[in-house]
């Protein structure tokens, strides 16, 4: 796979200039994620207004792909209902890890397309977070442990 397919402009842009990259003053939910294999630590903040996500942000940084994915996620979930965000999450997981393209409900097609550049990781198993939760839309506290495969280069 060509590097430019993995590192598309959207990813490079969000990797360099992550959006919503700050803590929330009064979050209603928060989750911490630590990837013990690559060392990334990310904290995600949400402020719910009823069942709607009023604000979303994150702190911490990882590689370009993980930073861009956190950044894009915050942009996309702001203003959504929690149920919609969960649906988008499931679609994205399938897009990024499964062979068959998932079926996407019409109202989420545009969002799923915005996340499509991240699905280049499918060709790089070592760059995927196997059982990561994109955002724990629950009462966060201590985030769940995340696991990804060890990042070693491939032999010549």
């Amino acid at each position: 796979m060509d590097l430019r397919e993995l590192y598309q402009d959207v990813i490079l842009d969000h990797g360099r200039h992550p959006r919503n990259h700050h803590a929330l003053a009064a979050p209603s939910h928060m989750a911490r994620g630590h990837n013990p294999l690559c060392g990334d630590r990310v904290t995600i903040f949400l402020r719910l207004d009823g069942a709607r996500i009023a604000e979303a942000s994150f702190e911490g940084r990882g590689c370009a792909i993980s930073t861009a994915s956190a950044s894009l996620m915050t942009e996309l979930v702001i203003g959504k209902m929690v149920a919609e965000a969960n649906a988008l999450f499931r679609i994205f997981r399938a897009q990024a890890t499964e062979v068959d393209a998932p079926s996407v409900p019409v109202h989420l097609i545009e969002d799923a397309e915005r996340l499509a550049p991240l699905t280049g990781v499918k060709a790089y198993p070592a760059r995927q977070m196997r059982d990561a939760r994109l955002a724990r839309l629950g009462n966060g506290g201590e985030g769940r442990r995340r696991r990804c495969r060890r990042q070693d280069g491939v032999r010549r």
């Binding site: 590097l3 993995l6 590192y7 490079l12 990797g15 360099r16 294999l37 690559c38 060392g39 990334d40 630590r41 940084r61 990882g62 590689c63 370009a64 792909i65 930073t67 790089y124 760059r127 060890r150 990042q151 070693d152 280069g153 491939v154 032999r155 010549r156």
Partner: protein
Amino acid sequence: MISALEHHSNIVPWQMLRERGVRLVVAPVDTAGGFDLPGLERCLGPRTRLVALTHVANVTGEMLPVEAIVRLAHACGAKVLLDGCQAAPRLPVDVAALDCDFYAFSGHKCYGPTGIGALYGKRALLEAMPPWQGGGDMIITVTFDETLYQAPPHRFEAGTPDISGAVGPAAALDFMTQLDRDAIAAHERSLTGYARARLAGVAGVRLVGPEATAIGVVSFTVESVHPHDLATVLDQHALAIRAGHHCAQLLMDRLGLAATARVSFGVYNDEADVDALIAAVEAAQRIFGG
């Protein structure tokens, strides 16, 4: 006592012993991530039983002053175990001359298979030690009342050994001893020096750890390129490196780094590989620098 340079495999087993009343002391590193001999000396005391240190650090490649460490530790009545995983493939190692009490290394770092390694111990110490595991083959006689154990090393090898697994490292070590061990060390030192010099010449690259005794591995960070992104770009240039914390989180925490990129050399590498590395690092900078 361990140091802040250690691989998790020389930290976690000792932590497990804390449940049995063992106190674990961590000797410091200096701000550059270098081994601190006076710091170790300050930590040593009459109650120090075992000093377990790496011979060559796996993140920075620093070779520790093990002769001095052994002398200091023995003067306090402590035993010394050296983790030779990084050193054994690179340096001629004479355990008797080092006078260390134990020495461990892994097969897969010596061009051999994974999942097997070797532990050396001074005979008198091994003879004084009880077996850690029971089974067949480690005994002289067994009755229902009593079992007489074999002499070391058999006493420590209960059950049918991993014979097929041991054939691999033996062949690998034969391969290594046919090469001139001093020449391997000279080759690794010169490649390490060359890589450090070339990397230091690239704007935005920061080398991790001291230069003086570095051998075999070079850790570095590149401004605006995360180590994992760098590893992926290098992979596309047919260069296999490791990115991450290298199972040395104590050291990474001291250095305030989440991850580094690390190249490690083998007998088959040469300066052209380093030149390719530099070109690929610069290519990564062009992608992510913008």
